[in-house]
Assembly symmetry: C2
Homo-oligomer: 520 residues x 2
């Protein structure tokens, strides 16, 4: 047994049985080891951003890490943007990154680079295996790191000789390297006391982040709100939201600074539960950096690495809300019918909510077109949403791949702007290869619409030639039906609400992937 | 005038008048400044790998740096692989990388990351601007770094507030930060003396790298070889080769280890001129790491940062070859006609050589299909070739964009395997947008053919399900004609040599971009 074989056995022993991969020559022994391990599901991405984004999407739905297989520093570099999103989501991932044989490193062959240095900014844990006999133990350590609660990005650099030299697998435990702590009872009591005063409670916001948007947590938050009268918000971009009819509808803080400031206006007490002090996504010359009122008192009841569910449970008990019917329950709402016409951000949400199958997984990277989607959520059947936590675009298509691999019985609906979709457009091929149950909706607005808005916000004259050429995706228009066809995904285009409704319902009911280009 | 405006003025003052860009919100003030600078040519890439690869291709043909505009750590991450190739080519590039405003960094907004850390592995020089008043001076320093001989990757991190706050442009010189030194006369004389002995000369190889494959250098090398009887080789992957009929035909060392070892067999003296001690591209368990014979004496006559032309000139003088007709002149060769049939690596070279317009620019990323291309080069008209120096695939399409922007009057022919083309397939759109004179040839072999070979070389059984699924690009086949159409590039497919010949001649004669998918 060589180092690779010992590693693959260890991955399987540790419950890591999916490997999103884009290997190169230095990983051929690892590929051979994967080849012998028929229990391992290997999913090829034609670009590493697909591989890492898929591992993120997989973790969010499977709640356990997948492995990635990446080729040296440049291959890892290609995967960094989606590792950034995954790190912000606190997803657990085991990256296996090939490196030259240790006795070849000093020769500085053309593909040589400092792989650890490339990994570090987007990883929680980085290690280079120094011998084949150490490879399995290092793999076990990487799995333990990724198994942490919340998850961690573990990047294991594998020199080629450690992959091909002799090794033994060994026996390992895969206990989480870090676990989420419960909150301090004293702080819980203090917040409970605060909330027991109805006047104070009215001016208190619970801001919920991390894994706190899972149904069992939102239920508790809803009970606390019902009992005390406090307000609830979710962090702007959550790693996973269980929402829709029958669930507590907690709106995310708006993405634009002004909207977030307005949402928190009048808040005297901001209680952070798995969330961080909310800040502007970007700084602007004349806008605040932090969005909470300056005189607002902030309590870090649970940081993002605390146990958010346990915190909400403790607070729910402390305020005596355990048998309360939650506030903000989205239930018994009849979906309003829509009037056909030109689709835009204000009306597409209702179509999406109406066409969503029960327990679908919505992957949301509709940066501008999806902003008003929250209005429609209470009308949608219960579903999950996974969001672009780190703001690095090129997330939705790869994450949809991973989510569909993790949850093959559920329909995945990826909402993505044309600009973002182009970043990792190679994911379409993997959807076709694996026949994943994914509906891709491209909001075809032929521009980086968000940047158009940002430039307009700066004031000044209308954009000239140079700005237009950097912000518009027209001349030529992208032909999304051909783009999908090129990669084996059936596709249609439409520019009416009724056409969108019909196409979406059809796609959601058809096994395998489909793409809908919605011109807006 | 704000920091961005001062920077853009400084770029133009420093001769940097092309900006390959993919901006985000934090770069909007820079975009506005570019918008006012009509002399700056802004070229949008729909993915950052396109942006950095284009800057590399641009430098190789323009011999001066372009700027890139990238969005924070993830945007830079997306561009790392092609920066790796550019660093290995010693191309000069000025990267402008947006960062959050300095007073927003500590808030750790979702897109925050350590931008300098991401930049460092693939840059020669990294700096963060700390105030708007410093922005122009830092830009000038970055240009000086990029202007070094050979070029350097200069990465300037621009916090948003330094882009929008008040500044003055200032006056700067843009002298190269580092210049290439001439060789030591003593070492030149020693090599000349060695070469004066015909027996020794016969067993001597001059290995030429860096900028040494430009016509004026290869001419000198040919003169030295004619006079002394020494052998000539080029480094396996050069930043730019001027070659074809009427030029000295110096073959690159073969890429596979065995071929390289064989090529250098019997060499007693290896003289490195702008090259490094040749090593295997990858390590293998039972193959050598260095490819020169172990008893071969190696002289570093000129390192890659020395002046290669001056070195060859001095050596040519020292051996008294200044009026010699060069050896290995590719001249008066009639192109053999080809027999129609199934195209493969052995016969496509003749078609390419025959269809190449004079002074074309060949961008070569045909990793397996292009291996025997060197056989056909002496028959081709004079042309330039730019090669994937760092081995990070996804190079050819972006580099073709940059080369075509640098040399609008010359035809660019990009040769690329289907696997590599998918990495940065978004470059097709920029070709269409800018109506660049590029012919893209996709070698459509539906696999990572090189990896298939590497796996087979390891011995062992035929690949099983997992290996096949990681190395083959079939199921579904990529439809390259649709892929091109999707991005506005006219395309045809063919699977015969005659069809390829006809399509290539037509594409090369048609203004704007075309794509040919050659099934092999």
């Amino acid at each position: 047994m060589n180092g690779s074989q010992a590693m693959v056995k260890t991955l399987l022993d540790g419950g890591v049985d999916v490997c999103f991969a884009n290997p190169g020559t230095s990983e051929m022994h690892f590929v051979a080891a994967l080849d012998q391990a028929t229990r391992m599901r290997c999913v090829l991405g034609l670009f590493e951003g697909v591989v890492t984004g898929a591992a993120d999407g997989y973790y969010r739905m499977a709640s356990k890490p997948a492995a990635t297989l990446l080729h040296l520093g440049p291959g890892l570099g290609n995967g960094l943007a989606n590792l950034h999103n995954a790190k912000r989501a606190r997803s657990g991932i085991v990256n296996i990154i090939g490196q030259h044989a240790l006795d070849h490193l000093h020769n500085d062959a053309p593909l040589n680079s400092d792989v650890e240095a490339v990994a570090r900014p987007m990883s929680h844990w980085v290690k280079t295996t120094v011998s084949a006999t150490q490879a399995a133990a290092d793999t076990a350590e990487a799995i333990s790191q990724a198994n942490s609660q919340p998850g961690r990005i573990a990047s294991l650099v594998l020199p080629a000789n450690c992959a091909w030299e002799d090794a033994d697998p060994g026996k390992y435990t895969f206990e989480p390297a870090c676990v989420a702590a419960a909150p301090l009872a004293e702080t819980v009591d203090k917040i409970a006391q605060l909330l027991s005063d109805p006047e104070q409670a009215k001016q208190t916001v619970l801001l919920i982040g991390g894994a706190g948007m899972m149904e069992k947590s939102t239920w508790l938050a809803g009970q606390i709100a019902a009992k005390t009268g406090c307000k609830l918000f979710a962090e702007p971009r959550s790693m996973r939201l269980e929402r829709g009819r029958g669930r507590v509808n907690i709106r995310p803080l708006p993405f634009p600074v002004d909207g977030a400031v307005k949402a928190l206006q009048g808040t005297r007490n901001l209680v952070l539960i798995g969330a961080t002090d909310p800040v502007a996504f970007f700084a602007y010359p004349d806008k605040p950096r932090r969005v909470a009122p300056t005189d607002c008192k902030i309590t870090h009841l649970a940081t993002p690495v605390h146990d958010v569910f346990a915190t909400l449970e403790a607070l729910c008990d402390a305020v005596g809300a355990a048998s309360q019917t939650p506030a903000q329950l989205a239930t018994d709402l009849a979906l309003p019918s829509f009037v056909d016409g030109k689709p835009d951000a204000s009306n597409i949400g209702m179509v999406i909510a109406g066409a969503l199958p029960e327990h679908a997984i919505l992957v949301d990277e509709a940066v501008t077109s999806g902003r008003q989607l929250a209005d429609s959520i209470p009308y949608a059947p219960p579903h999950d949403c996974i969001d672009i936590t780190g703001g690095a675009i090129g997330f939705a298509l790869p994450a949809a791949v991973g989510a569909a691999v993790a949850a093959p019985d559920r329909r995945v609906v990826a909402l993505v702007g044309d600009g973002a979709a182009m970043y990792t457009v190679q994911a379409l091929w993997t959807m076709a290869r694996e026949q994943l149950n994914i509906t891709v909706v491209i909001f075809d607005n032929r521009s980086y619409r968000i940047l158009r808005g940002e430039l307009a916000n700066m004031g000044g004259p209308q954009p000239g030639e140079n700005a237009r050429r950097m912000l518009d995706l027209d001349a030529p228009d992208l032909d999304w039906v051909s783009m999908a066809k090129a990669q084996g995904v059936p596709a249609v285009k439409t520019d009416t609400l009724a056409g969108f409704d019909q196409a979406l319902k059809k796609a959601n009911a058809t096994p395998g992937p489909s793409l809908i280009a919605l011109k807006i």
